[in-house]
Amino acid sequence: MASLLSTLVFLGFFLVVEQFQKGCSDLHLLLDRDSNLWLAPLLLSRWIAPAGNNRWDQPWPGVAVQPELLELNSDIHGKGGFPDSELSSSFEALQLRASRTNLQVKSGQGSFQPVIKNIAGLTFDSEQMPMITIRLEAVTDRPPFFFEGNLLETVEFFVLLRNYRPSLFREAR
């Protein structure tokens, strides 16, 4: 009788633990997805800001916006550590897109590499320049146990290109 009771307690316990683990796993999925949604805007704003804050009449487009591709060129490095009016370093020219549920970045002449996973969509809108509207869609790594689908979550944010306008005095190139 006692051994049967113990077996039942064990079975019941492991059933509860399994459900608890599944719940934790679902929670983990959601936290992962949400941390991507927190991290991606920070990364994007950090990459966009130097390109959108440099002088407007530089000989390259600082920020080139396409619906699903963002091109960023910023002179942030050069000889002696200071900008040198050239996009010589690979990280001075970036392209961003979402592909195969990854946020991908192309640096210089390289190829697109995944940076943040589970980014299902990334769209850019330049209608309100000098403000770029960015829409980001994040999904969970796999379907959760207690919910249906990939729990798509969308965040929309704006990046202001602060100095993206002409200066009163033209700068010599």
Binding site: V17, S35, I76, H77, G80, G81, F82, N163, L168
Partner: protein, 400 residues
């Protein structure tokens, strides 16, 4: 049997406890990550605010005094990261509420007082600190090209205090901007004439150009010039003597050789300036005012006044600041009209590759005056926002 139940109970309790501990650490870690992202974002915005503060302040600062600090001595540029308010290593551990700089070079100051001795505190406990330094193309302690770097460092102390987590670092963002404070119209004399010929009418004997110790009139020529002859021929013998002879200087070489002035010989600079000017005008009194069709002004005016075509300062009009008369038309100072500051005149065709000068036209009536006042010119120039030449985020690996 009792022993088996006890062991089972202990195992269950251990399992539940270990699950609770794992869950606790996971939640703490996620919380830490979320907080760190938030404080990173906060410090990023705070550092940007520092750059905007510097941009607003810069037109009102004397750059060479700024580089030396309020003590007037330069601390040197040998230390690593001397251009930054503090080193990255220090900023990660420092308490921003109590930190104070050891060297005052490049700290924003006005009238001998440091403006933000302990940084600027924004919402929460975050602060930004600023330091200006000369651009690397020049010597660190002497600015001649009016280009300057400013670094804004934002420090947000970490808000997580958990006995299970090791001591964490501040969130730090360092942004550098490169500005040029525009001084092209820092005039060397009360009346500066930029051109090759002119038509001048001096009515009556009591008009004045009052320069103090400076030259009364500066002439800047683009090519072969008859400006001096035109000027001298227009003056009658009985007219005031103070604008004759040595009171007139040929400032062409000064303008050609100065990094501050020389770009005024470029047609692109002028066409760009005139194209962009409407976007920079200000309707309030004392701002930048642009009159593309000239006009008739009266009363008391101030600021920066830029006019084309015929401009008349009516009788008794008093203008304080910088008056730029550009293009065709005549600048007329009627009786008892007065400009305190300086007057610039040019009539340029900037549509082609080369700048082409056309005749200037000035008419000064009796008792009118142009009184040189550097303070008034500086006040007007402070209305022009600095030109931003560059902007970048610096990381510990890239900072110099």
């Amino acid at each position: 049997m009792r022993g088996f139940s006890l062991i089972t109970a202990i195992l269950v309790i251990l399992l539940i406890n270990s699950l609770a501990v794992v869950l606790h650490f996971r939640i703490i870690r996620q919380w830490e990550m979320a907080t760190r992202v938030e404080s990173q974002l906060h410090s990023f915005v705070l550092a940007e605010n520092g750059i905007e503060y510097a941009r607003t302040l810069l037109p009102h600062l004397n750059l060479n005094s700024l580089l030396l600090g309020v003590d007037g001595t330069f601390c040197g540029s040998s230390a690593d990261e001397w251009r930054s308010p503090m080193s990255f290593a220090e900023s990660l551990r420092v308490d921003p509420l109590t930190w104070s700089p050891t060297c005052d070079d490049g700290l924003p100051a006005y009238n001998g007082e440091i403006l933000l001795p302990q940084g600027f505190q924004a919402a929460g406990k975050g602060r930004f600190f600023l330091r200006f330094s000369n651009n690397p193309e020049e010597t660190p302690e002497l600015d001649e090209d009016f280009v300057i770097l400013v670094r804004s460092m934002a420090i947000v102390p970490d808000s997580i205090r958990n006995p299970f987590l090791p001591s964490v670092k501040n969130s730090v963002v360092l942004i550098e901007a490169r500005f040029r404070q525009e001084q092209s119209f820092a005039l060397p004399s009360p009346l500066t004439l930029f051109g090759d010929s002119g038509n001048f009418q001096w009515e009556g004997a009591l008009f004045e150009t009052e320069a103090g110790e400076e030259f009364e009139i500066s002439l800047v020529s683009l090519s072969t010039s008859t400006l001096y002859e035109d000027l001298m021929n227009s003056l009658a013998p009985g007219q005031i003597q103070s604008i004759r002879g040595p009171a007139i200087q040929d400032a062409t070489s000064l303008y050609v050789n100065s990094p501050m002035y020389r770009h005024l010989f470029s047609s692109e600079v002028w066409s760009h300036f005139l194209d962009q000017l409407p976007a920079f005008t200000d309707s309030r009194e004392g701002g930048i005012k642009f009159l593309p069709d000239g006009g008739v002004l009266n009363g008391r005016l101030s600021g920066m006044l830029i006019a084309q075509k015929d401009l008349v300062l009516e009788e008794g009009t008093s203008f304080r600041g910088l008056l730029l008369h550009l293009g065709e038309g005549t600048l007329t100072l009627s009786e008892q009209a007065e400009v305190v500051g300086g007057v610039w005149m040019s009539n340029l065709d900037s549509s082609g590759v080369d700048l082409v000068s056309r005749p200037l036209s000035l008419q000064m009536s009796g008792n009118s005056a142009i009184r040189y006042n550097q303070a008034a010119i500086s006040e007007a120039l402070a209305l022009v926002p600095p030109t931003q030449l560059g902007w970048r985020i610096l990381f510990p690996e890239t900072v110099r």
